[in-house]
Structure formats: C-alpha cells, structure tokens
Point group: C2
Chain length 333, copies 2
Amino acid sequence: MARAWHLKSRPDGMPTTGNFELKTFDLPKLEEGSLKVTNRWLSVDPYMRGRMNDVKSYVPPFALDAPMDGGAIGEVIESKAEGFAKGDLVLHMGGWRDEAVVTAKTALKLPDLGGADPQQFLGILGVTGATAYFGLLDVAGAKEGDTVFVSAAAGAVGSAVVQIAKAKGMKVIGSAGGKAKSDYVRSLGADAVVDYRAGPIVRGLAQAVKEVASEGIDVYFDNVGGDHLDAAFALARLNARFAICGMIEGYNKAEPSSFRFIMRIIAMRIRMQGFIVFDYQSRMEEFYAAMGAMLKSGEVKAQETVADGLEAMPDAFLGLFKGSNTGKMLVRL
Amino acid sequence: MARAWHLKSRPDGMPTTGNFELKTFDLPKLEEGSLKVTNRWLSVDPYMRGRMNDVKSYVPPFALDAPMDGGAIGEVIESKAEGFAKGDLVLHMGGWRDEAVVTAKTALKLPDLGGADPQQFLGILGVTGATAYFGLLDVAGAKEGDTVFVSAAAGAVGSAVVQIAKAKGMKVIGSAGGKAKSDYVRSLGADAVVDYRAGPIVRGLAQAVKEVASEGIDVYFDNVGGDHLDAAFALARLNARFAICGMIEGYNKAEPSSFRFIMRIIAMRIRMQGFIVFDYQSRMEEFYAAMGAMLKSGEVKAQETVADGLEAMPDAFLGLFKGSNTGKMLVRL
C-alpha cells in the first residue's frame, strides 16, 4: 500500500504537526498515458502554506483528508506512456507520498545536464532556481552594477539570487537570521549581510548600503514582505525595481503588515511587480542552459538541507517558517 | 511692497493656519532675462505638504521664514526677457504671493488653446491634468475595456482621471467622501461610486465591482494610499496595474499604513509604479493637444473650487486634506 500525508485540518496561523496525518491510500489504476513512480525526493516549499487555506489562489487549495501533492523526483517503476521507460527519473507533482501514479504529460523526464544530481531539479535546477533567475533578471530587470537587496538570502530562492547576482556583476546585500546563516550568505559572495535578528532591518540595511558604497538599492528581491519590504522602501534609489516573489512573514499571521516608508514609492518612482515562476514555463529551456552553465563553472553552487524519510515531511515543511533550512529544503526517501 | 506667505514653523501632523504668516518682502531687482509679474491665480496642491517637512524629496523643502512658492498664473507687468511682453499671461512657480520676479526660462507663456481660461493651466491643462493623463494612460497603461478604480475621484486629479477614462471607453469606479461628492463623480460619468464615509472601502469596492459587472479591477489610480490601496489589492484582477500618484491619507500622520491584502500582489502579478508628472515634461505638447481636444469636444470638463484673496491661501491649502474641494482648488487674486 502506498502512503501519503493527508491534510487533517486547516491550520489557523502557524501549522503544527497535528494538522497532518500519514495514511495509506489506494493508488489509482495505471491508465494508458500514465506512469507509476516510486518517489526518491520530495520538495517542501513556502507556497504550500497558502494551499492549506480554503482560498482560491494561483494553485488550488489542498483538499482535506486526501493525499497532498507537490514537487517530487521519482523513478518510473511501470510505464504506460510513450517516451518513458522503467528506471527513468522524472520530475512530477505527486509529492508528499512514497508512490504515485501520474499522467505523463505532467511529468518531466530529467534532462541530462552533465552529472547534475537528480534532486537539483527540485531546487537550483527546478522551480526554486527558475524563480531566482527570472525574478532577478526578468521581473526586476537587474543589470551589472546594480545594488541588489535579497531577503531570506540563506533560503532556497534567496541563496540562488545571491549567486546569480554575483555571477552577473551586481553588488549584493542579503538578509539572514543569525550568525551561521549570515556567514553562509557571505560565503556565497554577498558584499554585505543584514542579520535581521540583530536589530531593526531598516537600520541594518542602511548600514549595509554604506558598506557596499552604494547610494541605495536598485533592486529588491522580496521573499519576506513586512519589515523587510518596508526597509527596501526606505533605502530604494530612484527608479528602483522590486520583484515580489514571496511574503513568508505574513503566511501564518492574520494581522495586517505595516509600512512606514511605502510613500517613497512615489518620490523614488519605485516599480513593484508580483510574479509566479509558472508564468515562465515557456522559457525553461533558456533557464536550463543558463543555470547549467553557471553550475558547471562553479559560479553557482547547489545547497541543500535534507531530512530523511516520509515521516519527517511535516517537520521539514514547518522548518521553512522557523529558518531551519540553508538552501533548498528536501526530504529523501 | 509685495506680500507672500512664509512658512513660520514646520507642521507636526496636520498643518494649522499658525504655521503660516503673511508678510511683506522685497522683490529682487529685475535682471536681464527676468520678468516681473502680478499674480492672478495661485495653486494649492497636496504635494506642498511634503515640502513643509525638512526632508529631501523630489522637490526641495520650503525654507522657514522665506516666501513660499508654487504654481501660479500671473500677468507680466515688466519684461527684461525676449519673447515676453507686458500683458502676457504666464504660468510660473512664484506662487503663494501677489507679485513675483521670475526668470523667463522657468515661465511658460500660456499657449492659445482656443479660449481656455487661464487658470485651467494650473488645473486640467496643467500639472493636474497631465498627472491624470500620463498616470492613467502611460504609467498604468489603461486601455479600452479596462475596469479602472480611482480614489479621491472628486478631487483635482481624480476627476480628470474619471473623465479621461470614460472618454477612452473604460469602466470607471470612483471613490469620494459623502453624498454630494459621490453625486458629482457620478455626474462625470463614473459607472459606480464608493462613498468612503459610508463604510469600509473594501466592502464598497467589492459592491461597485459587481455593479459594473467586472471580475475585479484592472487598473488602480491611487491618490490616497492606506485603506484605499488595500481595497485595490483585495479586488485586483490578474495582471492589474497600479499607478501610484499620491497617498494623501498619510501626508499628515506619523503612524505607518496597514495592509491586509498586500500579499495578493504575488498571486495577481500586480504591477505598482510610483510616478511624478515632472518626468513627462518632454511630452507636454502631446498632452496639450490631447487634453485640448477632449475639452473642446466636451468629453472633459474643468471643475474648480475657488477661494478669493491672498489671505485665503492657507485655508484653501488646508481644505485639500478636509475634502473641501471639488475638482481643482485655486486662489483667485
């Protein structure tokens, strides 16, 4: 019998392990055009928190008492679809479980990128890396010489943004929580780091801007929202561009976010743009080529935090909101 | 002796008449290249509140105990500049006073737009109208068929936005405070009006969206910020564009603004762009032609609230924050 995590109840605020239940379930019959896979790697991502609310968004909410889903890398154990054979490794959306039946058209056979680890397609070579790549270069239009501020810079997306920005000749300021993560962000090449646990972010960011000898930030890559976003308003230069990727600070709270410096959007002609990486699906080939090259050259390194076993999945997910991960958070089966 | 309003002290929060003092001052000697003008019309604008703080912004702060300035229409009484003669009407920045000496290169001889009233160059044919025109059509990129939400729609800029949007075939929802202003906004052609004194704006806007049979707003033209902006986040459709022109709600308060729905910027891929009309100075000819035509056809009507006499100036200015004006607020000398 296959096993999957089910959403037992919808969390109110911060989720707890009590919201989840690991249960056996019957795999659907393998129809023509489908694959049966056994999962090797499962992804936990902040956006999944939104799916736990009963609210329509860009991804449908999780149903209660049904197997949850999400990004996963699995090995094909039975194929009824052309182009897929037993033993193939595939990226698919049947995560949060050990085995899955998926339609072939929603599965991607992993491209050969010269020895990349398969789990990298859930991270630096997957949605995570593509979010960083398109958000920084396309949504924010960041260019060589720009001063870029990245929040949650030790996280999966943030650490990719830092490295891409450095590879492209930008000045980078990253924020992180605590000394270990701040050191990690600096090791990625960031020119300055703001430790958001050490004091008000706006003061730390002002100091960091001075350190990198900049007049302010040209680009803000937002993973956090709240005080981070407010600090970015405060330190933005004329014609700054903000790519709004996530606002993890607000995912588990009901209170509104407060902004003291939002009015600077006018005087500084700030452009803010929200985005979702799925909008860039047609440009994934470009991304694989570019990110593959940066990995090969060593300009970008994949960093992962790995938890072992299906049982560990809820804790791995909850860890995203406690800052437990450095780089991409994964569950290995 | 010429008389001018001086800033006596910097306001803390909402300004009072005590912050201003009407004093005589010596006009500078008329140098080569300059004009002496006697003012006919003076402009009061919300952006002037920002100049009363001792903070560098896109316009320098007012100095204490010195003649204030701002937009004005005056008649040339003496000219030492080529191209300007006694009797010419000019638009210039020597406002808040009855007489001024200005350099010719900072003065604009009023173009002949077929019988437009001179004071219209401080309003619908001036910075006010240009703000509405470029903000709506260029910054927000509003197009025929879009549903446009305009805050402070009975105000100088807002009422121009409503009329331009209707002239271009858009659905328009305007917000206004109280019944008289709401009726005025409807008389301008708005398809629905939200009276922000009648209840929470987000509820009113949701109702208005239903009334105009729209799935949400495509464009938000922001003059107010705060709850209005939050309501726009809540009701935005996919790929909505927000032109951020002003946030008058926050000009006189120290507390930060709170947003409950700002996270929708991500799911809806909202683009927010702050702007200042001065960035469009090179395109004013285009504006005069387009707005002149809309005035002539009757698609746009100039609405003014007029106060009389230099003494009335501080009260006219303070009225902007109390909603005393319908359309452009002016002082006639």
